[in-house]
Amino acid sequence: MPISRSNTRQNHLKLARQIIEFILEHDLSKGDHLPESVLSEACGVSRTPIRSALKLLEQKEIVQKREEGGFFLNLPPDALSADISSDLDDMEGSLAARILSDRAERRLSDVQSVSALVRRYGAPRSSVLNSLKILSSDGIVVQLPGRAWAFQPMLDTPNAIEESLAFRLTLEPQAILTPGFQVDSQKIGLMRQQMEEFLQRPDGKLSSSAFLRLDCAFHSFIAESSGNRFARGVLLAHQRLRLSTQKDHTIADFRLRQSLNEHLGILDSLERMQLQLAADQMVLHLRRSQIRKPQTVNRGILPLARGGSL
C-alpha cells in the first residue's frame, strides 16, 4: 500500500514523541544539543524523518534550531510532561491516534458512523474519514457496506493479549525454521545496542512504552527475516497492531529485563545461524510472557474451590 501523506505525518509525530522520551530518559537539560545522528540511532530510523520530527517539535517551541547548526532543547525537562505529548496529539493528523486511544480505552463501541465521530471530536468530516483510512491501513477498522465502520480485534484486554501470545507461539518459532530465513547483521547490531542501552537504565526508569517499541521491533525483525512470505505478512501486520493498540502497564522491571535478555540470547543464536536453538528460545520467551497474573485470588477463592457451596 502506498504511504500516504497522513501516514508520513503520523510517523513523524510518533518519532517526535520518541524524541521527548529520549530527552527525559537521558536527563537532558535546557540548551542541550540534540544531534540528529544520535537520535537517528536511538530511534532506529534515518536522519531525514528525525529532522522532520524535530521540525514538528520546533513548531511547538520544544526545541530550537540555532544558526551554529542543529537543534537544541528549548525547555527544562520538567516542562516536558504528559501535556506535551497531549499537545502533539492535538496537532493535525493526530485524530486517528485519538480515535484509536478512545477505542482501546473502551470509550467507543464496536461500530461507529462517521457522523458520530464528527460530533464526538468536533472535526471536519474529511479529517474523520482520513483518520479512519489511516486506521484501516493497520487493520484496526474496516468499512462496512454503507457508511459505518467496524473496529477489529485489538490488543486491549488481558484475554486479547493472551490470544495474541498463543497465536505468536504457533507461528513465530516456525517463521525462524522456515527455509530461507535470513537475518540482516547490521540490523541485529542496531537492535542489540538499543536493548543494551535500555537495560542500563535503573529500576523505576524502564518505560513500558519504550519497552513495547523495542519488543515490537525485535519481533517484526524476526517476521521480516522469515523465508515464508505469508508468515512474514501476517506476523508483520500483527506486530503493527500490537504497537498501535497494546496497552499493558503491568510488567515488573525484572520481567522487562529478563525479556530483553531473552531477545539478546535469540539474536546471538541467529547470528551463529543456530536456528533450531533460536526457535526453541523463542518458544521459551513467549511461554514466559504468557504467564499472567491470576485473575481472581483471595480468601474468597477458597469457598469457590470447594464448589461454591456456601
Binding site: 523505576g204 481472581t296 483471595n298 474468597g300 469457590l304
Partner: protein, 422 residues
C-alpha cells in the same frame, strides 16, 4: 559463607503476596536468598519480581476459571458481600475457615517435602492458619500479620472481622457467634494439629504467635492501645511494607483535568461488575480523573466516560503515590499503602478485615467509610468530593506519611528476620 535461604509462604491473596515481595526485596538487599512457596495458580507472580518459586502440589480440586464458573460464583455470593459482619459470619466467614482448614490439611505433606528439599534457614509465614510442617521444620519461623491488628486479640482491640469498636455493647454477642460458627472447622483443625504433634489452639484461633518473631503491619497512626501490651521482643510493628514496583505514567484522558482518584477493590472485588458500572456512572459527574482496577473483567465494560480509565492491573504503589484519593475495599495492604503515600481512603468493604479497616479509617481521620452497595449517586458524589477537599485530613496524612517513610517496614522486617535466623 553461604547466603541464608529464607522461605516466604504467603497465603493465596495478592495483599499478603505483595507484602511478602516487599520484604523479600529487602532481604535480598541484606544478602539473603528469599524464595517463595506458592499456591497453585500463583506461580509466575513472584518470578516476575525475580524470585525463585516452589509450587505446592495441587491442594484443591481443580476447577477451570471459565466465564460460567465466575458467573455462578457471582450469582451465588455477591449478595453475601452486602451483608453486615454479623450476618457474614454464617454465610462467608464460617465456610471460608472450613476451606482454609481444608487447604492446610491438603498442603501438609507437599509442604513438608518441599521444606526438606529447600532446607531454609528460616520461614516467613504470612497467613491466617498454621501449617504444622512449618512449626515442625526445625528452623525459626516468623509470623507476618498482614491483615489488620485485630487478628491478634485483646480486650481493648475490636473483635476480629467485626467492623465494630472495641467497646461496642454488641461485642459479646459477635464473639459468641464467631466461636459458634467456626467451631466445626476449629475442631477439625485441632484434631489435625494433634495428628501432626502440635498442641490444640484456643477456640476461634487457627494460628499461634511465633515464639521467634511476629511482624504486624499496623502503622502507629492506626494502632490500638492494648489492655495487655504485646511483648516487644517478639512482636514488631511495621509502619508499612511497600514493595518496589514498576512505574505507572497516567495516560492523558480525553477530559484530563482535576485530581486523580484510584479505585481498586482487589481481584475478588472486581467480580461485581454491576457495582462498578454504577460507580463509574457517578464518576462521570465528578470533575476528577478516575483510574479503576477492573481486574480480569475489562471486557465487561463499554462506553467508558472520558474522565475514567479502566485497567486490569495497576502497579499500585506507583499510582497511589500520584493519587489524591484511594477508593478501596479495606484490604490492609491497600489501606497502609494509602497512608504511606499520605492519600485519604474511601473504604467500601466487602468482607473479612475490610470491615475493621473501614471503621478504623473513620476513627483515625485517615479516610471515610461507605457501605459497599447501599448508597445513592448523590451520597457517593458527596463523600468523594468531601474527601478531595478535606485539607485537615490531608495535613494529618502528610504527617503520617512522613513518619511511615522514615521507618520503612520492609527494612525493619528484613533486619528482624535476619536477626532471628542468625
Amino acid at each position: 559463607m553461604t547466603k541464608p535461604i529464607i522461605a516466604l509462604f504467603p497465603e493465596a491473596s495478592f495483599g499478603s503476596a505483595l507484602n511478602c515481595v516487599g520484604i523479600a526485596q529487602e532481604l535480598q538487599r541484606h544478602g539473603a536468598v528469599p524464595v517463595f512457596l506458592c499456591h497453585p495458580g500463583f506461580n509466575g507472580v513472584f518470578a516476575e519480581y525475580g524470585f525463585k518459586e516452589y509450587q505446592l502440589p495441587d491442594t484443591a480440586p481443580s476447577q477451570p476459571q471459565t466465564e460460567d464458573t465466575w458467573q455462578s460464583f457471582v450469582t451465588a455470593h455477591v449478595a453475601h458481600f452486602n451483608q453486615d459482619p454479623m450476618a457474614q459470619l454464617h454465610s462467608y466467614v464460617a465456610p471460608t475457615w472450613d476451606a482454609i482448614v481444608d487447604t492446610a490439611i491438603r498442603a501438609e505433606d507437599g509442604l513438608e517435602t518441599l521444606l526438606k528439599r529447600i532446607k531454609p534457614a528460616g520461614i516467613v509465614l504470612d497467613n491466617v492458619i498454621m501449617f504444622p510442617a512449618i512449626a515442625n521444620a526445625g528452623v525459626p519461623w516468623v509470623r507476618v500479620v498482614s491483615c489488620t491488628e485485630t487478628e491478634i486479640p485483646d480486650a481493648h482491640v475490636p473483635p476480629y472481622l467485626s467492623g465494630m469498636a472495641a467497646h461496642d455493647p454488641a461485642r459479646p454477642a459477635f464473639e459468641a457467634r464467631y466461636l459458634e460458627v467456626t467451631a466445626p472447622a476449629h475442631l477439625r483443625y485441632n484434631t489435625f494439629r494433634g495428628q501432626r504433634g502440635l498442641p490444640p489452639l484456643a477456640a476461634g484461633l487457627f494460628l499461634e504467635p511465633s515464639p521467634y518473631l511476629n511482624l504486624l503491619l499496623a502503622p502507629t497512626a492506626i494502632r490500638h492501645d492494648r489492655l495487655v501490651p504485646l511483648d516487644e521482643r517478639l512482636f514488631v510493628f511495621l509502619e508499612g511494607c511497600v514493595r518496589e514496583e514498576a512505574q505507572f505514567d497516567p495516560p492523558p484522558l480525553p477530559i484530563n483535568e482535576g485530581p486523580i482518584v484510584y479505585m481498586s477493590f482487589g481481584s475478588l472485588g472486581a467480580i461485581d461488575t454491576d457495582l462498578f458500572a454504577r460507580m463509574i456512572a457517578v464518576f462521570a459527574t465528578i470533575p476528577a480523573r478516575f483510574f479503576v482496577n477492573v481486574g480480569g473483567f475489562l471486557e465487561s465494560y463499554s462506553q467508558v466516560p472520558d474522565n475514567v480509565y479502566l485497567g486490569s492491573w495497576f502497579p499500585q504503589p506507583s499510582i497511589v503515590s500520584q493519587a489524591d484519593l484511594f477508593i478501596h475495599h479495606g484490604g490492609n495492604n491497600s489501606y497502609c499503602e494509602a497512608m504511606y503515600f499520605g492519600v485519604p481512603s474511601l473504604v467500601m468493604p466487602y468482607c473479612w478485615d475490610g470491615h475493621d479497616n473501614g471503621l478504623r479509617a473513620q476513627q483515625t481521620g485517615t479516610g471515610a467509610f461507605l457501605q459497599r452497595n447501599d448508597w445513592t449517586p448523590e451520597q457517593l458524589r458527596e463523600v468523594i468530593t468531601a474527601l478531595l477537599g478535606d485539607t485537615a485530613m490531608l495535613a494529618h496524612l502528610k504527617t503520617i506519611s512522613e513518619q511511615m517513610k522514615a521507618t520503612p517496614g520492609t527494612h525493619i522486617a528484613a533486619q528482624s528476620i535476619l536477626t532471628v535466623i542468625s
